[in-house]
Structures are given as C-alpha cells and as structure tokens.
C-alpha cells in the first residue's frame, strides 16, 4: 500500500531536543599527554637546532622562533581544552549523533541502518585511563564515517554490542 501523507515539520524528531552526553573527563588527560609529547618533541628539535646549528641567522632569530612556537603551543592547548567540552554524543533509536569542534562546530548524524561495521579500539594511552573509542564505518567516503573517542570502557562495550545487534538484526 502506498501512502503519501504530508509531513508535519513540527512533529518529526528534532535534533535540538536530543540531550547530548559529554565524553569522559579522563579523555582530557589523553589529549593533554598527546599534546605534551608532540610539543615536547618540537621544543627538543628547536633546542637541538640551537645546539648544533652554525647558521648565524638562525641563532639571531632563535628567541623569536621560540616565542612564535610558544604562542602557538599555548593557543593550541587552550583551544583543545575548550574544544574538549564540545565533544558530545548521543544514540537515538535510529541514529548515532556526535558533535565536536570549537572553531568549526560539526554535528554528524549517521542512521543506524547505514552502518557497515563498528570497531572498538583502545590505544595504549587510552587504556591507562580505562577509555575506549568507537569507530563507525559507513559505505561512504571517509567524510561520512564517525568516531567517538574517550568513552569509558564499559560504555564503549555496551554501545558496540547495542549497535552491532541492531545492525545485524536489520540485515
């Protein structure tokens, strides 16, 4: 039977009504440790350069370079920390929602019926904080895939089971 009812725009489910859940606070540690490792490497490279370089020009401008790098590092860390609080997720009956980004805010929704497979991964660092990531793959280009980092391990396992059973049940 074919029906073609008019859709009442007010009545369909609204993305704004969804209460997004923030990811685990412990994930902030993971982000910060990663940043410290990265920037530590950059600073080390800079100082090694100072130690070994013979180039006078480089030595003259060394402290400017140092200043520029420091401003960049501080800015980057501040933005990362603020952006952390934008990382939120929700799972509805028919789709998965994930929002992130401070400067560029993105709210991605993947219908569960379009999920190809789900991957649960734990990096070494995340394991130290009992965290896990869920990666959701669709058939689209990489742009339509979705990964939620910084979930507590038990919750990640639960989401994985829930989505897997839904995906397999549908097909």
């Amino acid at each position: 039977m074919f029906t073609n009812l008019q859709i009442d725009l007010e009545a369909i489910p609204n993305l704004e009504d969804v209460v997004l859940k923030p990811i685990s606070k412990r994930y902030l540690n993971v982000i910060l440790v990663n940043k410290i490792l990265l920037f530590g490497a950059l600073y080390t490279a800079l100082f090694l350069g100072k130690w070994f370089a013979d180039d006078v020009l480089f030595l003259d401008y060394f402290w400017y370079l140092f200043l520029v790098l420091s401003i960049f590092v501080i800015g980057n860390i501040v933005v990362s920390v603020l952006a952390f609080y934008k990382r939120k997720y929700a799972i509805r009956e028919k789709d998965v929602i994930y929002s992130k980004g401070l400067l560029v805010h993105k709210l991605t929704t993947v219908p569960i019926s379009r999920i190809q497979h789900i991957e649960e991964s734990r990096s070494w660092l995340a394991r130290q904080f009992q965290l896990a990531s869920i990666k959701i793959f669709t058939a689209g280009e990489s742009g339509s895939d979705l990964s939620i980092h910084g979930l507590p391990e038990d919750e990640a396992a639960y989401i994985n089971d829930f989505l897997s059973s839904k995906v397999n049940g549908d097909s």
Binding site: L9, R114, A139, S144
Partner: protein, 499 residues
C-alpha cells in the same frame, strides 16, 4: 553463434601473449622514460654511452625485449580461468601461484574494454570488479568479443535469477537510445573549459622539463637563448609581440587538446538501454563498454555552460557506489540534448521532480567569497611588486573586475532544492553544475558551523552518499536544522536500501 565453454579451466585467446607483451613493454619503457632520454642525448652527443657502441645498445634492447617476451609467455601459460557452480575461478602466477575464487553474487561490475593494440588484433579485455577494495579487480586481457559478451552474461546470470522473474528478457530490448555524432562531439570539445586543458598542458611541460632538467642543461639551450636575445628598445617591442604569439599559441594548443581529447575519449559514444541497466559504449583508441545499474547510482552531476546551452549540449556524470576511482571518471555521457538528459535522469533516478521552488544561500556566501578572494588578491600584489615595481597596483584593476564577475556568477548559480525524493544542488562559475542525489541513499548528515558563522546565525549542511559528499552552503541555522531533521526522518522512516 557458438557458445563458448567456460566450465573447464581455459586460457585466454592465444593473442593474449601479444597483449601482455605490449602492456609489459609499454610499462617498462614508461618507467625508465627518463633513463632513455638520457641515453638518447648522450648517444646523440658522443655516439656512444658508457663505452657501448650503438650496436651493443641495440643488442641490449633486443635482449631486454626477449626477457619481457619470455615473461609474457609464462604469464599467459599460467593464466587460467573457469566458471563453475556459481563461482568464478582464476589461477595466475609464474612462481607464486595465486588462486582466486569469486562467488558470482559478489561481482559488482563487468566491463569490456579494448585498447588500441587490442583493436588491431581484434580482442577485448574483460574487467571483473568486486565489492570491496580496489585491488580485487581482475582483468582478462584477451578474449574474442563474442566470448567476452557470453562470459559477461554468464557472470551476471545468477543475479538475474535471484532478483526476480525476468531472466531472458534483457537481451531483447536492446535499444540504442542515444548516439553522439562527430559534429556534436566536436562542438562539445570546442565549448569546453579550456583553462583545464591549458593547465594540463602546462603541468605536463613543467613535469617533462623537471624530469629531464639535467639533460637539457647539457644541450646549452639557455645560453643559445640568451645570446639570441639582446635587449634594447626595439627588442622590447619584439618581446611583447613574442609573448602575445606565445599566448595565442598556448590558447590554440589548449583548444586543440580539448577537442582531440573529447573526440578520442567519446568517439562513437552510445547509450544503450537494457531492461535494468543502461550501457555506455565509447572510445576511439580505448574502446570501453560500461553498464550503469540504477540502484547503485548515488550521485548524478549535470554540467553545462552558456555556450554549451546554446548548442544544446549537456554532460551527465554518474557516480556509482563500489566503483574504483579510476573507473569513476569514465561514467560520463557528453553531448546530450536537454530532452535526452531529462529522460536519462528520470530513467536513472526514478521520477525526478524539480518543480519545488529553488532556494538560495544567504548573502553571507557572497561575503565569504569576497573575503577569500581579497586575501588571494593581497597575496598576488606581493609578486606583482617585484615584477612591475611601482606600477604594481595596476594589476588590481583586472583583478577586482575578475573578482566581481566571479562572486556574481558563483552566487547566481548557487541554489538548492529539496523535493520529496531528491536533493538538487546547483553551483559553478563558468560551468553550471547541478548535483542530484536521492534522499534515501544518504549515508550521513552533518550540520556544520564555524565560530564566525555562529555569530551570523549561518550554517552549512554536508550530505554524504556512498560516492560523494555534497554541501548545502550558508543557510540560516534554524533552517539548516529543519533540513537535517527532515532528511534524517526521510532516511530513517522508510526502510529502503541505499544499494
């Protein structure tokens, strides 16, 4: 017509040796191209290379060709395939033996292609594409045309049975729906965006120059060039004329390149309608036959421009899921008439309806375009200062005019339209590009907003299908949210498959 027997392990047509040999030789010479240029120049200059005379070099080349020939023969002998119990079997490899088994149901596409060499010896190659990664593509490089068609049908036969009742009807209704005449192809080539061809040529020349830089240096071209141009007042006028001539030459070559490329690639373009699929046949040196399955089509892209519209020329590109990137660009039908285009769109998408009112992005889009271009313009002023000295500001006059036309047309051509079943997005500057996708094939929906857009209450939506992401740019965020809700509702409420 003799039905070929594919149930027993068999080799390709014996002409396959030639094809494999041709491929391998071409590949070999291509990968050592620079080396050969070096050889050539050094022989040219000293009549010898690294103490080898010309005779020895010829011997070496013959030896290399012999080795390639032996490898080709071994390759041919070890290449066997057969179809048995709903599976396609293939064994290859000289030292490492590979056995590939593909269930018929996993075969996504079968293409028949014919390159120049294959045309001469009258064989075709059959490409079998499976779902999954790009590497799983299989090519049988030499088969008789009739056998290839039989193999294709055999590989698809099971799918038909499983899908429904029509099993034999497909062959009957082969109806050539569209055939592009040489004249229309020529017009298509002429009215193309020649800037693209120009860029291809320039990058090719630069690439060649870069690769062979060291060897060209040996020829002392630069010194000769410098000696022949002596600067004085008269020479300045000469220089100007030379530059104009060079520019005209480049323009001519670009146009010629566009036309030749269009004609060669699309020679004898044919669109054939089958029961379920639409088949494209085209090519002069590389003949190919591709089939489009409506259920697998994710995006359609229609391209035209002012001149083309005048001639009634439209180009339709089809983006299918599970097709590798290289193949994707071949799924284009050029030189269509408007009525044919409309018919094809309806055929491929099923009752395409674009009567809903077009909606425009907000004026914010214009502002962003201006902002981006201004940054570019400022950056362009810096090199201009070094070239033109104090008159550098003069470049801003044409630049501003160009920016103005760009922003005007870019905004004018941008629109979006959401109907019951489809999303249509228009864009383009010189070309008018129309992107169409079916709502039930959406894979994900993204609401995106930058920090600055948030102040203006503006947002964009990015809609992904299995083959492409499209953007509905810069609309009011409340409206964007409504659209997201609606699209998600449409996808999730109807239980339709995306493939």
């Amino acid at each position: 017509m003799v039905t070929a027997d594919f149930s027993q392990p068999r080799r390709q047509s014996s002409k396959g040796i030639l094809v494999i040999f041709g491929f391998k030789t071409f590949k070999f010479f291509k990968s050592f191209f620079v080396l050969f240029v070096a050889f050539g120049i050094s022989i040219f200059q000293k009549k010898s290379f690294a103490n080898f005379g010309i005779f020895n070099i010829v011997l070496i080349v013959i030896g290399l060709l012999l080795v390639i020939l032996i490898i080709s023969v071994l390759n041919y002998l070890n290449f066997k395939f057969y179809v048995k119990n709903e599976d396609f079997h293939l064994s290859t490899g000289i030292l490492n033996k590979d056995n590939t088994i593909i269930p018929k149901s996993k075969i996504q596409n079968v293409y028949i292609k014919q390159n120049f060499l294959q045309q001469i010896i009258n064989v075709v190659s059959v490409n079998i594409e499976t779902a999954g990664d790009d590497k799983s593509e299989i090519e049988i490089s030499a088969l008789d045309k009739i056998q290839a068609k039989q193999l294709k049908e055999l590989l698809f036969s099971k799918n038909k049975v499983s899908e429904g009742t029509q099993t034999e009807t497909e062959d009957i209704e082969d109806d050539v729906f569209f055939r592009a005449s040489l004249k229309r192809l020529f017009l298509e080539g002429i009215s193309q965006n020649h800037l693209k061809s120009f860029l291809i040529i320039v990058s090719f020349i630069f690439g060649l120059y870069y690769e062979a830089k060291d060897y060209i240096k040996q020829l002392h071209i630069e010194e000769q060039f410098e000696n022949s141009t002596i600067f004085n007042d008269e020479a300045l006028f000469g220089l100007l004329v030379t530059n104009v001539v060079i520019a005209l030459l480049f323009l001519f070559v670009s146009v010629l390149f566009s036309v030749v490329k269009t004609v060669v690639v699309n020679f004898n373009l044919e669109v054939v309608e089958h029961q379920k699929t639409v088949e494209i046949n085209k090519g002069l040196f590389n003949k190919m036959s591709l089939s489009l399955t409506p259920s697998r089509i994710q995006n359609l892209e229609v391209k035209t421009n002012r001149i083309k519209r005048y001639f009634g020329l439209y180009r339709l590109s089809v983006k299918q899921a599970m097709v590798n990137k290289k193949q994707q660009k071949n799924f284009a039908i050029v030189a269509l008439e408007k009525s044919q285009l409309d018919y094809l769109i309806n055929r491929l998408l099923g009752a395409y309806d674009a009567t809903t009112e077009r909606q425009k992005p907000e004026f914010y889009y214009k502002r962003i375009l201006w902002l981006k271009l201004s940054v570019l313009a400022v950056l362009l002023n810096i090199p201009a200062y070094f070239f033109l000295g104090t008159y550098f500001w003069a470049i801003n006059i044409p630049l501003v005019l160009l920016m103005f036309t760009f922003v005007h047309y870019k905004y004018k051509k941008a629109y979006y339209l959401i109907s019951e079943e489809h999303i249509t997005i228009g864009s383009g500057f010189i070309d008018s590009v129309t992107n169409i996708l079916e709502i039930h094939k959406i894979q994900s929906v993204r609401f995106q907003q930058t920090f600055f857009q948030k102040q203006q209450d503006i947002a964009s939506i990015i809609v992904s299908t299995a083959s492409k992401d499209v953007t509905i740019p810069y609309i009011k965020s409340a409206h964007a949210k409504t659209i997201c809700n609606l699209l998600l509702y449409r996808v999730e409420s109807q239980d339709r498959d995306w493939m």
